[in-house]
């Protein structure tokens, strides 16, 4: 590798240089934005409506032209490139999927390769592969977008954006119009896809949760198009730079931040268990206030309180359990498992779902406190 090639791969994929956008002499929609967007990472623009996050995104592919400033794509000023060709070099996914209602799913996915002059049969073959990549059945390829559910349409939108294998993906609130369950699904699929593809993704959302789940880097925009903070999601939650960011990341940010703290050190206590098959036998007694009900494979199925042992003769009589904590998961999960459990003991399972013990909320708190102290010391040391 020559030195120039090295320079081009370490250089940020997208660079905003003092970019301002003003509509008709009013307040700026984007106010002297300067930022670097790293290659191969997901950068999330997040903020309330009217903060200029979408405008900033659209200036990258020249759907909006900046009033002043420059945007560089791989070192080249986008203003010097032909708009249509520039746009074809980037994938674009939008909120309402924006699929062409008069084209079949396959032809929709094949749009950009066709615009680039790829033969129809080649473009369709590639589109078929992409259906699989985004987790859609091949027979959906012949349908029209109107025959798909919202979640399926968004998947097609993602496939279409990937069709020409562009290095950059622009995603404008792509998952905000689908229901929460589908949204969570699409988010984890995007993370899975990104693991293989390593595209430079710029993702716009108004949802701070989505931003912290997806973003390698999160840019919080404030009303008036000001970039308030640009940092790792962990840092945004732990150390919001001002009142605006603190207010925007919201009331639960302390709890959310626990997602970024490893739960390796949580103490797992043994727990007395009783097998579902032995419940009906009244001679089998329990000896602690709460005994965990497990099946033959050791998977949890609720709790048997000592006080009412006699009345619990089948699995249906047991007290339903809370959320499960998979060993090694984040402190957020550990805390939630113990807080949601009727016994106050968070049921901990291994990767196969078998009970390995329980965690206690009080001990999770101790770890959180210890972590705070460590960070405090680290900050003190770097400051000195």
């Amino acid at each position: 590798m020559t030195s120039t090639e090295q320079a081009s791969t370490t250089r940020p994929m997208i660079e905003f240089r003092d970019v301002t956008k003003t509509y008709d002499g009013g307040q700026p929609a984007v106010d002297s934005l300067t930022m670097d967007i790293e290659r191969g990472k997901i950068t999330v623009f997040v903020g309330p409506s009217g903060c200029g996050k979408t405008t900033s995104l659209r200036m990258i592919n020249r759907m909006v032209e900046p009033t002043s400033g420059r945007i560089l794509l791989d070192g080249q000023d986008v203003a010097e490139q032909k708009a249509a060709e520039l746009r074809r070099s980037m994938g674009y996914v939008m909120q309402s999927s924006g699929l062409m209602p008069h084209r079949t799913v396959l032809d929709n996915i094949a749009t950009v390769p066709r615009l680039n002059g790829v033969a129809r049969s080649t473009a369709r073959a590639r589109a078929k592969e992409l259906l699989d990549v985004v987790g859609l059945a091949p027979e959906l390829g012949r349908r029209y977008p109107g025959q798909l559910s919202g979640g399926q349409q968004q998947r097609v939108g993602v496939a279409r954006a990937l069709a020409a294998d562009p290095p950059v993906l622009l995603m404008d609130e792509p998952f905000s119009a689908v229901d929460p369950v589908v949204r969570a699904e699409l988010q984890s699929e995007l993370i899975r896809l990104q693991r293989d593809l390593a595209k430079t993704i710029v993702f716009v959302t108004h949802d701070i949760d989505e931003a912290t789940i997806l973003g390698d880097r999160v840019a919080v925009f404030a009303v008036g198009g000001r970039l308030a903070q640009f940092a790792d999601p962990e840092e945004i939650l732990r150390a919001p730079v001002d009142d605006f960011v603190a207010g925007f990341v919201g009331r639960d940010r302390g709890f959310r931040h626990l997602s970024f703290q490893e739960g390796e050190d949580v103490t797992i206590h043994p727990i007395e268990t009783i097998e579902t098959g032995r419940l009906a036998d009244p001679s089998v007694t329990v000896n602690s206030p709460w005994t965990l009900l497990v099946d033959a494979e050791g998977r949890p199925h609720g709790w048997v309180p000592e006080a009412t042992r006699e009345s619990v003769t089948s699995q249906a009589d047991a007290v339903p359990g809370g959320s499960l904590y998979t060993r090694g998961d984040s402190l957020r999960r550990a805390l939630d498992a113990s807080l949601s459990s009727p016994s106050g003991l968070g049921v901990t399972v291994d990767d196969d779902g078998r009970v390995v013990g329980v965690v206690r909320a009080a001990e999770v708190f101790e770890l959180i406190e210890a972590g705070r102290l460590d960070r405090g010391r680290a900050n003190y040391n770097t400051a000195v």
Partner: protein
């Protein structure tokens, strides 16, 4: 019964003339539709890009439509240098009316396209011309054809007026029938004109179905999806 037997006698006896007049009639009604679409669509696209131009063109086309057809048939030979009996006069006149009527409905058709789709086309990297031809135009077909159906019926009836100045069409059956006081001939003219109008309309409906396969398959799903969305919003 007299009427029916009269018609039954008339048609086979005059089949040659009827065939020729029907052919002329169809030519004079269909050609203006084709020319009208070819002219109105680009004009409408121009109008959509420029508000002032749109105002002038829409008002202008409405004004054109107020000119009586007979006056137009008589006046056009002076401008075009054609013979007064030429079918060209009728075709040109009806093309003008077609453009006048289609302008507005085509502007509506092009405006009716979902903005999300248009934005997506821009974001995908369509050039403006390609987007117009492969996205805007196909999507505006249902509204466009609705406009064309109105024009096809209007044209079929207006072509008859040309017979007043001697241009051959089914209208001749009316003028002849009137001068010869022969109601059967007039009735035959009316029946054939009606059948032509029905036939053309049917063809246009079929054309729309062939050109918009996506519209048929998605209506039920779309309604269901809308209901689903409404529920999501409500909860």
């Amino acid at each position: 019964m007299d009427w029916i037997s009269g018609i039954i006698d008339y048609v086979p006896a005059n089949i040659g003339q009827l065939r020729q007049l029907t052919g002329n009639h169809l030519l004079q009604s269909v050609l203006p539709i084709v020319f009208g679409v070819l002219i109105a669509v680009p004009l409408a696209q121009l109008a959509r890009q420029n508000r002032t131009l749109a105002g002038i063109m829409l008002t202008g086309s409405s004004l054109l439509y107020t000119i009586p057809s007979l006056a137009m048939f008589v006046f056009l030979p002076l401008v075009l240098g054609t013979s007064i009996l030429s079918m060209v006069n009728v075709v040109v006149a009806l093309t003008i009316y077609a453009v006048a009527l289609l302008m507005r409905s085509t502007v509506d058709a092009l405006t009716s396209i979902d903005d999300g789709v248009r934005q997506a086309a821009v974001a995908m990297g369509y050039t403006p011309l390609r987007r117009f031809l492969t996205v805007d135009l196909p999507l505006s077909i249902p509204v466009l054809i609705a406009g064309v159906r109105v024009i096809s019926v209007t044209n079929i009836s207006m072509v008859s007026v040309g017979a007043l100045i001697g241009v051959p069409s089914l209208g001749r059956l009316f003028t002849d029938g009137l001068t010869r006081n022969y109601p059967v001939q007039i009735a035959v003219g009316i029946i054939i004109t009606l059948l032509l109008a029905l036939l053309l309309d049917l063809l246009l409906v079929l054309l729309e179905r062939v050109l918009t396969p996506w519209a048929r398959s998605s209506t039920t799903r779309r309604t269901r999806a809308a209901a689903l969305d409404a529920r999501t919003v409500a909860s």
